[in-house]
């Protein structure tokens, strides 16, 4: 299946892209996605842990991703 990943804040600077699309196996979950990103971009280990949002809503724990999900990498927010 295909998923789209959006990067914001410091994550965008680390990856140097606004978004990427990746093909993964059908049982792929949010924890595997985090590991994959940290493996591909080791700089993620040097910053505060990021949250994930799927289709514009925060998710927690192990979340089973679906085809065409849009996953956002949310570093600690700092609005206001």
């Amino acid at each position: 299946m295909d998923i789209k990943i959006l990067f914001f804040g410091i994550a965008k600077d680390i990856v140097n892209k606004n978004s990427i699309e990746i093909e993964v196996n059908d049982t792929f979950n949010s924890v595997e996605l985090k590991s994959l990103l940290k493996e591909k971009y080791p700089k993620f280990d040097a910053i505060n842990d990021f949250s994930l949002a799927v289709n514009e809503a925060y998710i927690e724990g192990v979340y089973a991703l679906k085809n065409n999900d849009v996953v956002a990498i949310i570093p600690p927010v700092s609005g206001g």
Partner: protein, 141 residues
């Protein structure tokens, strides 16, 4: 959007009068306003400017959620939460929150609740620009 909630993210200058007028209500005895302003230093280091970016569609949803919770938790009639994105200079306004209530306590409490929660949940990020570099706020251990 509910008639008693105003949510906005904009690259234009925020307008305090607009936020005040939105929550004005003849049944209310007071309006509380919170205006966030860009401070000229952080940890004793001079800040030149701030850059705000947002995951806009989700930020709008989270701000709306905060407004609905504030209406539920406190006896307020109306609430406006407006946030700016883009580059802001010292003294400029990244956020305005206004609330109105029949008696003042609820308006103050709701306003505080809204800004505190916004800073924890709304996907907006601020970058501080110094003479000698730039830093994403809250991103480093």
């Amino acid at each position: 959007m509910k008639k008693n909630i105003s949510i906005k993210i904009t690259s234009d200058k925020l307008n305090l009068q607009t936020c005040n007028d939105f929550v004005h209500d003849d049944a209310c005895g007071g309006i509380a306003l919170f205006v966030g302003t860009v401070r000229n230093s952080t940890k004793n280091k001079a800040v030149k400017r701030l850059g705000f970016s947002a995951y806009e569609p989700m930020a709008i949803k989270e701000m709306y959620k905060i407004a609905e919770q504030a209406l539920e938790k406190f006896a307020i009639h109306k609430i406006a939460i407006h946030h700016a994105v883009g580059n802001l200079k010292i003294g400029e306004i990244p956020v305005i929150i206004t609330t109105s209530s029949p008696h003042r306590g609820a308006a103050f409490d709701a306003c505080q609740y809204a800004i505190d929660t916004l800073k924890e949940t709304v996907p907006i990020w601020k970058k501080e620009y110094f003479e000698d570099g730039e830093v994403w706020v809250n991103s480093h251990p």
